[in-house]
């Protein structure tokens, strides 16, 4: 049953970027035993002030309840701090297909629209705390890039 809880929580879509799941983003950290013998799902926030944190908790709660896992609790873990390295390979592919350049160490991002690497950062801060605003010089389209964090 507890393995189910991990799968149920991990399958919840991210409220800001519904193309990826919480498991893809590495937000679901695992199952933790409680002192009373029960189990908690451990979640970690991406950015400290991410307004989606509460929405994510509510969505996981509802998903667990709908799966008949009312006894499973939810806890927030800050440490170790979330990093974009925890986004899975599948998550990277889904982000790209959705039109968001996945995080990478490269100086330039690959344009999710035309695939060119002739791109430049427009603004370090974008539409959500986790994304920067970029533009492609080849097709001139603006796009979001997940910030390395």
């Amino acid at each position: 049953m507890t393995a189910d809880a991990l799968a149920v929580a991990g399958a919840v879509p991210d409220p800001e970027i519904p193309a990826v799941t919480l498991a893809d983003l590495g937000i679901v950290r695992g199952l933790r035993p409680r002192a009373d013998g029960g189990t908690d799902v451990a979640l970690t926030p991406t950015y400290t002030g991410c307004p989606a944190t509460l929405a994510i908790e509510l969505m996981v709660r509802r998903a667990l309840d709908d799966a008949g896992l009312r006894a499973v609790g939810i806890r927030t873990e800050l440490s170790p701090p979330w990093t974009t390295d925890w986004i899975t390979a599948e998550g990277h592919a889904k982000l790209h297909a959705y039109g968001i350049a996945p995080p990478g160490k490269a100086e330039t991002a690959t344009c999710p629209h035309c695939g060119s690497t002739d791109t430049a950062e427009v603004s370090r801060f974008g539409s959500t705390p986790c994304k920067a605003l970029w533009q492609c010089r080849a097709c001139a389209e603006p796009f979001d890039r997940f910030k390395c964090h």
């Binding site: 926030p45 950015y47 400290t48 002030g49 991410c50 307004p51 800050l78 440490s79 170790p80 701090p81 427009v122 603004s123 370090r124 801060f125 974008g126 539409s127 705390p129 605003l133 964090h149």
Partner: protein, 255 residues
């Protein structure tokens, strides 16, 4: 010293740092929809969000240490001005964009080395909060530093405004590095960094950015202080009135 003996000092530290983040986050939020360009609007709103997130964690921890049943919301919305422990720098009015950038740069250049040090604190809660926040503070100081250079190295008007903004904020910066009884208690236990190396890191960054911007270090005093003891300027009361009016008018309301 036993952990229980450190509790009051830990509580004061968490409250001071939480109030810094809360008040600066509230100040920056006032730019939303008013910034010079859309990109800056997004940047300031994002930084405000990070700071309010820090405040939620730090004030939540302060409330736990206090043990009187006050959570982060209670501390943010139901304290009077004399009970706030933020530094005077963060409560300075936004002024023009240059003054807001000066305030942000001088603050973030202090918060970065401070949080880097606190991330190694033997107090596990403070360490994990600082380790989480420090990644974002790196962005803040780069953003603000870039703008100090662009405005300082820009037009005659932008240069004059940047210099004026720095001079205005400079008066309160000495307070960031002042040590008092609480800080010495925590420093002795290795839970608060010695202000001297924080000051050295701050000086180095400030000097490097001002040099790139072609600006001089402000010459006036940096000794205006009082925020850590609850002695604030008149501006903080106005900020709190706006921030607190709803929860104070409807204290029993729930979402």
């Amino acid at each position: 010293m036993a952990t229980d003996d450190l509790r009051p000092a830990r509580m004061v530290q968490a409250m001071r740092l939480g109030d810094d983040s809360l008040i600066l986050g509230q100040r920056l939020s006032a730019w939303c929809g008013h910034a010079p360009t859309l990109e800056i609007d997004l940047a300031l709103a994002n930084i405000a969000l990070d700071l309010v997130g820090q405040a939620t964690l730090l004030l939540g921890y302060a409330g736990e240490l206090e043990g009187a049943g006050r959570n982060a919301d209670r501390l943010a919305f139901h304290r009077d001005v004399r009970d706030f422990r933020n530094c005077l720098l963060v409560e300075q009015p936004n002024g023009d964009f240059a003054r807001t950038i000066a305030r942000q740069f001088l603050f973030s250049a202090w918060q970065l080395p401070l949080f880097q040090a606190l991330a190694r604190s033997p107090d596990p809660r403070m360490a994990e909060i600082a380790a989480k926040a420090v990644k974002e503070v790196g962005y803040h100081v780069e953003f603000a530093g870039d703008w100090v250079v662009r405005l300082g190295d820009g037009t005659e008007d932008s240069r004059r405004r940047m210099a004026e903004g720095l001079a205005w904020c400079w008066r309160t910066t000495g307070e960031l590095f002042a040590a008092d009884g609480m800080q010495r208690t925590l420093a002795t236990a290795g839970e608060a960094p010695d202000p001297a190396p924080i000051r050295a890191a701050w000086d180095a960054r400030v000097d490097a950015v001002l040099s790139d911007a072609g600006l001089d270090r402000p010459a006036g005093t940096d000794a205006v202080r009082g925020g850590r003891d609850g002695l604030h300027g008149e501006h903080l009361g106005h900020l709190l009135a706006e921030m607190q009016v709803l929860p104070r008018t409807h204290p029993d309301a729930t979402w």
